[in-house]
Amino acid sequence: NAGVTQTPKFRILKIGQSMTLQCTQDMNHNYMYWYRQDPGMGLKLIYYSVGAGITDKGEVPNGYNVSRSTTEDFPLRLELAAPSQTSVYFCASSYMVNNEQFFGPGTRLTVL
């Protein structure tokens, strides 16, 4: 199993541009999560999904959108990039609630 994979690894955006961060897991996990991590800080939850077709907001959802059309994929969309969205983004998945979340390697995003 590849586990949780994320693309791209790095990206630089200009203010106002849009992009989609990809996340795929091959463990048949129902639960998937998007976090952002600012320098020297812990992770903050952006959005999460408890199964295909179901998504919900986390702690910091503003400026982001998600979709979950399949069990495997959970893309994160930035519509109008802002400097405040400069961060490292981590996708995670778990088999069930209150189980270990497996994290991807992250996407480092810079908005200039």
């Binding site: 949780v4 639960y31 800080m41 992770l43 069930m96 270990e100 979340q101 994290f103 992250g106």
Partner: protein
């Protein structure tokens, strides 16, 4: 609001000593707690977890203690090795909220040879 915090932002220990990393949480409704290790440039890596119906759980060289009375969580690492150098995060999961985790700020553990 909900928060998970750490008492010590940095911890420096000698190789072979035991390390203790502490964490305070504020949500009494949390029923699951987890420790992650994060090395530079990588995603968090699971260390150990504990549910609220337990007060201690042991893994390989690691022990997590949960004190629900004072809302305190600790991670003990026995015989700390240079490979243990990393940032350690505690996280709590409030009951009935889809398994989402609330992370603390993190403690950087530095192991001196």
């Amino acid at each position: 609001g909900e928060s998970v915090g750490l008492h010590l932002p940095t911890l420096s220990v000698q190789e072979g000593d035991n390390s203790i990393i502490n964490c305070a949480y504020s949500n009494s409704a949390s029923d699951y707690f987890i420790w992650y290790k994060q090395e530079s440039g990588k995603g968090p890596q699971f260390i150990i977890d504990i549910r609220s119906n337990m007060d201690k759980r042991q893994g390989q060289r690691v022990t997590v203690l949960l004190n629900k009375t004072v809302k305190h969580l600790s991670l003990q690492i026995a015989a700390t090795q240079p490979g243990d150098s990393a940032v350690y995060f505690c996280a709590e999961s409030p009951m009935g909220q889809g398994g989402k985790l609330i992370f603390g700020q993190g403690t950087e553990l530095s192991v001196k040879p």
